[in-house]
């Protein structure tokens, strides 16, 4: 099955998604089991983490083949994150509460559909000055003079559909749609209407029994419309429009609208070799995102432009040796994201340049200790980042060339196929932020635990997670806690 939470559409959308799903818990994805086991994914076999075009490649066309059971699931999640270890405009505290359901149904032998719906309340508290749902999605940002809370409410929906056109050819269609409205609780009281649409069109051609080739196109449209209205006291709304960290202007107006509109598209070419013992997935992605900012009371003038172009090659291989309950996995990734910005009033002048280069390699093992009904999964990923944040307008230049180490360990103890107790730990050495504004050399420790109870057609999953971000020789930290409950009814 495909994962909603791990789709990638360049950093802009990724960071927005991260801001909405604050603690990386997997609650609103299809990967709660792997999330409970420390986010192990390289060598951990899971129905929702298979090495196939749907789970790994997010290609809706393959959903028909990925389907094993029909089910309906009810989801409840509460996540909270708090701490001073953050970027300047990040909220001190984030509280995210959501309720939803999701289900998959086989319409016939030829086609299958999946739908999800959730309603979310996102509470960003004690945000210093920031006036955007994601202040860090591009170099342009708005601030005012107050610290306040933003409260967002809104539904989100996802639909996927897969049909077999020919015995070896599959078509998939899908979309994600989010809309939420946020209001800052104090002056300047902007109202933000956030809408997000992503299409997902995929093809799968089974070239042979063990080789599938896929193609995915994903158009994206994201809009944040921020409205400032006359205050009850008649005061002006004083807002500062920043173009990078060096250039700004001030607006003092009664009514004002800011529209941020992102258009993007991603093309993905997928190759999968899937034999009984060996599986290999190779995904080549190209994506282009363009973000326009328009400001104004009556006419909305184009004042900011941001573009990012991403080339991304993602590899994952798994091998299951004969005779022993072992899975060996290897992962690799090459990614180049070239982002830059300009002020359209000065069309030939480069305001900001932000290239991000990633070379990643990882390996993992999963081993089932039969005698103890204990599954152990461990993995290590090394990410080599080369990131530059060149803010020409501010004459501020930052660069890091670092190695990020990620270690994960997951355990699962099963009893009679009825109960399963899971735990895990994930350690990320050096959290990365493309703007290089996060306190440098911050580490993340994430501890998870949970259980699954299965009876008849019903299954209940519960996950508790605790995370802590720390920085050496730095008193402040950031801690997160989350609880997620899934109640799943297998219908067939």
């Amino acid at each position: 099955m495909r994962s909603i939470a791990t789709n990638r559409y360049g950093f802009a959308v990724l960071f927005l998604a991260l801001s909405l799903v604050v603690v990386a818990s997997g609650g609103w994805s299809n990967e709660l089991r792997t999330s409970m086991m420390g986010n192990c994914s390289i060598a951990l076999y899971d129905e929702d983490n298979q090495l196939n075009p749907y789970d790994f490649g997010h290609n809706p066309a393959y959903m028909l083949n990925d389907l094993e059971f029909e089910w309906v699931r009810f989801i409840f999640g509460l996540e909270e994150e708090r701490g001073e270890l953050k970027r300047p405009y990040d909220p001190l505290l984030v509280n995210n509460l959501y309720l939803g359901f999701t289900g998959i149904k086989k319409l016939s032998d030829r086609h299958v559909t999946k739908g999800s719906f959730a309603y979310t309340r996102l509470w960003q508290r004690e945000i210093p000055n920031a006036l955007e749902i994601d202040q860090y999605n591009d170099p342009f940002y708005l601030v005012d003079e107050t610290t306040g809370d933003f409260e967002y409410y809104g539904p989100s929906a996802q639909v996927d559909y897969s049909i077999r056109l020919k015995p070896d050819l599959y078509l998939g269609l899908g979309f994600d749609y989010d809309i939420c409205t946020g209001l800052k609780q104090n002056y300047t009281r902007p109202e933000i209407v956030h809408t997000y649409f992503k299409g997902n069109i995929g093809l799968i051609y089974e070239a042979s029994k063990s080789w599938s080739v896929g193609l995915v196109a994903r158009p994206v449209r994201l809009q944040n419309r921020t409205k400032f209205r006359r205050t009850d006291e008649g005061f002006d709304n004083v807002i500062y429009r920043w173009y990078g960290d060096g250039i700004y202007d001030v607006r003092a107006v009664s009514d004002y609208t800011v529209r941020e509109l992102l258009y993007g598209v991603e093309l993905s070419l997928q190759n999968f070799i899937m034999t009984d013992r060996f599986k290999l997935g190779a995904i080549m992605n190209y994506s282009l995102n363009q973000n326009e900012l328009r400001y104004g009371a009556t006419k909305r003038l184009l004042q900011g432009f941001w573009q990012s172009t991403v080339y991304d090659l993602d590899l994952l291989a798994r091998y299951t040796p004969p005779g022993i309950p072992l899975v060996i996995g290897l992962s690799g990734r090459l990614m180049n994201d070239d982002g830059w910005a300009k002020r359209p009033d000065f069309d030939d002048i480069l305001l900001y340049e932000n290239p991000v280069n990633l070379i990643s390699a990882g390996g993992g093992l999963s081993y089932l200790i039969d005698s103890a009904d204990l599954l152990v999964s461990a993995e290590y990923v090394m990410n080599m980042y080369d990131v530059e944040a060149k803010d020409y307008g501010a004459s501020a230049f930052r660069e890091v060339d670092i190695i990020q180490n990620i270690g994960r360990l997951g355990l699962e103890y099963s009893i009679l196929n009825v109960y399963a107790f899971r735990g895990g730990v994930e350690i990320i050495d050096y959290l990365m932020d493309r703007w290089l504004k996060y306190p440098s050399n911050t580490d993340l420790y994430r501890f998870t635990g949970g259980f699954e109870y299965h009876t008849g057609y019903w299954q209940v999953d519960l996950q508790l997670a605790y995370s802590e971000e720390t920085k050496k020789d730095y008193e402040a930290s950031r801690r997160g806690m989350s609880g997620i409950v899934w109640v799943t009814r297998l219908t067939r």
Binding site: D168, L169, L203, Y205, A207, V213, G214, L215, A217, D232, E233, G234, F235, D236, V238, Y243, G246, I247, Y248, D249, V250, R251, A252, V253, S254, V265, L267, S268, L269, M284, Y286, L288, Q290, F305, Q307, T309, D338, W340, K342, R343, D345, F346, D347, D348, I349, L350, L351, E353, K390, D391, Y392, G393, A394, S395
Partner: protein, 373 residues
């Protein structure tokens, strides 16, 4: 089929790559300005007619496209240099105070320049003795008090900076027509939305004197506004009051009136709270012009009759509405509605025709006196 899929993605990627915008090649933030400040009058140093470079002149640089101000002093060579300027339009203003026979004289000059990318602007600004009008607008209080929607306590203050008695007879006080027009810097007139006139005969009248160093406060409504808004001011002691007999305007019988002369306006003298301009003119010559579909009238006032004018705006990047021939800048940058603040001249009698540098923001307002006294 496999080949087709591969071909499709390659073609699509190529097409998409073509959809992207090319990254500009010139980085921002590397502009440089290198300006020499020169004097040819001979008053500061050197011989008349021979340029000499002015040491320790105060040079202010302000962006007209974003929020940026820098104040520098020239070195012994009379030069200032500033690096790392962002692309945009700027205004440079140079001034030097010189004491001639114990009298302070102000030499000033300015230039506008545009910097793009890594460009260096090199130029010379020649300063000259500022010839200012002797009667000038000294203070404008337009934002309103820190009460809900209370802006009826606006006033304009005039000042006689000369050593002679001047006369207010027939002078008109206007609210400038609040719109930018493409030819406003070329035409020889300004437009007025509201106009209120002192009694008496323009230019030749001698009934309403203003003594040297005297302030004259002209209130929209000459009442004690603190009775209605505790944070407001007492204008019952204003020298003059604007009165519009065409409307239901309150008239304080104890304060003499400037009377509305725009027959299409029935409201009191009120000016915008964020961006507008105030002009005073001799009143000797003006015409009416009809505009719009509703018979509205505005005044056309010849530039040669204008005594002084001040444009104010919250943002330095606002569009100029008053010709730069009267005022090259904006007073009140950063000031907001209902803040209880006013704008007043930085120094008594200083008038460079650039309100950005001539005026400072003060609170509370000072009707009838100055914050520098």
């Amino acid at each position: 089929m496999r080949g087709s899929l591969h071909l499709a993605v390659v073609i699509s990627a190529a097409l998409l790559a073509g959809c992207g915008v090319d990254m500009p090649g010139t980085p921002d933030g590397n502009g440089r300005v290198y300006v020499a400040i020169a004097d040819t009058s001979g008053y500061i140093s050197g011989e008349p007619g021979v340029p000499c470079y002015v040491d320790s002149a105060e040079v202010s640089i302000q962006s007209r496209t974003h929020q940026f101000t820098a104040v520098l002093l020239t070195g012994p060579d009379g030069v200032v240099a500033l690096d790392d300027l962002a692309t945009g339009r700027y205004y440079l203003f140079a001034r030097k105070d010189v004491y001639i026979e114990n009298n302070k004289k102000v030499f000033a000059g300015g230039m506008e320049f545009y910097i793009t990318g890594e460009e260096t602007v090199e130029d010379t600004v020649t300063v000259g003795l500022i010839a200012t009008s002797e009667l000038m607008i000294n203070e404008i209080y337009y934002t309103g008090a820190t009460c809900t929607f209370y802006m009826f306590d606006q006033f304009v203050e005039l000042y006689n900076s000369s050593s002679d008695t001047l006369y207010l007879d027939g002078i008109i006080l206007t609210r400038h027509y609040p719109a930018a027009e493409p030819d406003q810097d070329e035409v020889d007139y300004v437009k007025a939305l509201y106009a209120y006139q002192f009694p008496g005969t323009p230019v030749t009248g001698r009934e309403y004197p203003i003594l040297p160093g005297q302030f004259v406060a002209i209130a929209s409504d000459a009442i004690n506004h603190s009775l209605y808004c505790p944070t407001s001011i007492d204008l019952s002691v204003a020298d003059w009051e604007c009165f519009n007999p065409l409307g239901s305007d309150y008239d304080n019988p104890g304060v003499p009136n400037l009377v509305n002369i725009n027959p299409s306006r029935t409201s009191d003298y009120l000016i915008a709270l964020s961006h507008n301009a105030v002009v005073i003119a001799t009143g000797e010559e003006y015409t009416y012009e009809e505009y719009g579909d509703h018979g509205s009238i505005r005044l056309i006032i010849p530039l040669h009759t204008v005594i002084d004018g001040v444009e104010y705006a919250t943002s330095a990047t606002s569009t100029k509405e008053l010709t730069i021939n009267v005022d090259a800048g904006f007073a009140g940058i950063g000031m907001t509605k209902y803040s209880g603040q006013s704008v007043e001249r930085r120094e008594l009698g200083l008038d460079t025709n650039d309100s950005t540098f001539d005026f400072v923001i003060i609170a509370p307002p000072t009707p009838g006196y100055s914050h520098v006294q």
